[in-house]
Amino acid sequence: MTGPGDRSGADASQGVAAPSGGFRKGAFGVSGSGDTSGFGGLVRVEPGGAVALHSTERPYGGWFDEVTDALAEAVGEATYAAAVQRVLVDRGEITYFVAREHLLTLVRALRDDDALRFELCSSVSGVDYEGSGGPVTTPGRPRLHVVYHLTSMTYRRRIRLEVAVTVEDPHVPSVSGIYPTADWHERETYDMFGIVFDGHPALTRILMPDDWDGYPQRKDYPLGGVPVEYHGATIPPPDTRRSYR
């Protein structure tokens, strides 16, 4: 993977202060090369890189408040406060950032409570935020996120849960006991990101061969590829080409 270029994201790890943003330089993915083309101009980036760090203020709007209230009622205010670290409403979608200790309590309530009824777990996947700028890249920050998309067929609503863990301790409780469909999703997430789902009945690789080393969709895992020679010129593999960010 090419270097992400110079990034000077504001350190927002202290809290949820107003996003001040940062800048990213080096459009070609290089720095200090004397590139005067102008393409290396400053680009404004969010303080958290790809991860938004702030929490949306109440009211969230629409049915988001209804679901949030019902969830808090179902699990109890104290548990809700401990379980949900942040709530983000963005582009008409709501995301709950959840502490992994309380994930199963929350998910069970989301599925079973009459006012919530998220019967279908549409998708479970991972995102690796390593190198996306912002404080998420500092050591010890949880860079691996597990993202759950839940669908309520009764109320026709969709919500997203997000659990963040570190590479050193990539353990998340498995929801496959609550949503059997999560079985393969979690195996794929384990296969690609190395996130271990505790309590999964058979957490093995699913897409890669059983004896594969490494977790291919982590950002520090190279894309691979071989240079291609054509008419005497050599084209490097995609992840070592000069590229824009």
Binding site: G49, R91, S123, L207, Q217
Partner: protein, 440 residues
């Protein structure tokens, strides 16, 4: 020849008794005088097998002909498309995702592009939306026909296969005329579609609309009314609504349980709420119901195509914003879709600014504000969801595809354990998994 002489088909002693590995040949030759006791067989079916719907591997435990355990092994077609998109621009992503579920390429493109557009906060022009609906519904018919064709072939109805691919070819001819390619079109792009309908396309579609109902009726004559076909499908691969929800199964298998869950009606996109069509359901929860649902859906898709064609108004097919819209117009030559000579003349001969603009947008691409979205569309196989994350740069940070084939295939064990081995084939065919989408 005794078993021990064959290096690939020997026998060995285990704690559970003697285990034989059989690669073919006569029973007597393999087992000799050992042919006594229990008959537990572990059969490895696939990944190269004409009945497994692609490179799918099944490990089946058999007692006689009854399946006691079915395990599904996937990953033989994993190509790392999700990872690859992270190294390309947003527009190039279309070219990758269209190759995932190769029988419904336009749904992949539409889902991906709608996710990118939601991240950008833009709305595509009306004509582009209508064209998207038009090509997707043609694609849905083509996909359902392949399901019928390969499903029929796997059950021994070889004419179903030849006929299915014949009608599918009519659909692909249309898509080729519109997009330039039979498959892997990369036609739907962030911001609209790659090019307008070519002259004569409307006439071809109308002709196709005139012919198709008669062709589809032929399937009812050939398959629906046929006793063998009925017996192979009825009460096979049973999965009720509870099982579907627990296992995340969507699409025709879910609608065959009686639940009219179709995202085109539930969460309409691209103006689907303005089209007049029904969501066909069945109440049998078996392979037969899924067959009937698909047959009925093809007729509904024809209705949608006709309505889309009627409401096509002249207008742009790409967003006005020149910072996002692809600068080059493609044109259809004798050898397929390629560069527009007019455009090349414009940027190379008359306008330096146009050349710079073209260069910037084509090599660097546009930036997409940071954030994440999940956009589901109703593909021929169920909920096709795109979870797309941006870090604010010119390339996707992460593209995850919730592929319906991947999820639906989990139901294999629930549908086939306790049944006959021959019914495993019918059950899997009724799920219509496409391994390109399963393994990505």
């Amino acid at each position: 020849m005794t078993a021990t002489q064959d290096p690939y088909a020997g026998s060995r002693e285990t704690t559970e008794g003697r285990v034989y590995t059989v690669t073919g040949g006569d029973w007597d030759q393999t087992f000799g005088s050992d042919l006594t006791g229990e008959e537990r067989l572990v059969v490895n079916m696939g990944p190269q097998h004409p009945s497994t719907h692609g490179v799918l591997r099944l490990v089946l435990d058999l007692e006689g002909e009854t399946v006691t355990k079915a395990r599904v092994v996937i990953g033989y077609l994993h190509t790392g498309i999700e990872k690859n998109t992270e190294y390309r621009t947003w527009t190039q992503g279309t070219t990758f995702v269209t190759r995932m579920d190769y029988l419904s390429p336009l749904f992949n493109e539409a889902g991906y592009c709608m996710a990118v557009e939601k991240l950008l906060g833009i709305e595509v022009p009306q004509r582009a939306q209508t064209i998207r609906v038009l090509v997707m519904e043609i694609n849905r018919i083509a996909s359902h026909l392949v399901c019928l064709a390969t499903g029929g072939m796997e059950l021994g109805a070889l004419t179903g296969m030849t006929n299915g691919f014949r009608e599918r070819e009519m659909c692909l001819d249309l898509l080729e005329e519109i997009t330039g390619l039979r498959m892997n079109h990369a036609y739907i792009r962030p911001g609209g579609v790659a090019q307008d309908l070519p002259p004569g396309a409307e006439q071809s579609i109308r002709e196709w609309l005139r012919v198709m109902p008669g062709q589809l009726a032929g399937y009812h004559q050939m398959l629906t009314a046929q006793p063998i076909w009925q017996r192979r499908l009825k009460d096979v691969g049973y999965l009720d609504v509870t099982g579907c929800l627990a296992l995340g199964v969507t699409g025709p298998p879910l609608r065959a349980t009686g639940l009219a869950w179709d995202l085109r009606k539930i969460e309409p996109y691209l103006g689907y709420e303005t089209y007049d069509f029904e969501v066909p359901t069945a109440d049998t929860s078996d392979a037969w119901g899924r067959f009937l649902v698909r047959m009925a859906e093809m007729h509904e898709s024809l209705r949608i195509v006709e309505q889309a064609l009627d409401r096509l108004e002249p207008g742009p097919v790409m967003v006005e914003d020149r910072k996002i819209a692809w600068p080059a117009q493609l044109s259809l030559g004798a050898d397929g879709m390629g560069n527009s000579l007019d455009h090349v003349r414009h940027i190379m001969g008359t306008s330096m600014e146009a050349l710079i603009h073209h260069f910037k947008l084509v090599t660097e691409g546009f930036r997409v504000p940071a954030g994440q979205v999940y956009v589901p569309v109703e593909s021929p196989r169920g909920e096709l969801g795109y979870h797309v994350v941006s870090d604010g740069s010119t390339r996707p940070w992460r593209v995850h595809v919730r592929d319906p084939s991947f999820v639906n295939l989990q139901a294999t064990a629930a549908m086939s354990e306790g049944g006959m081995i021959a019914d495993v084939i019918a059950a899997i065919a009724s799920l219509d998994p496409v391994m390109g989408g399963v393994d990505r």
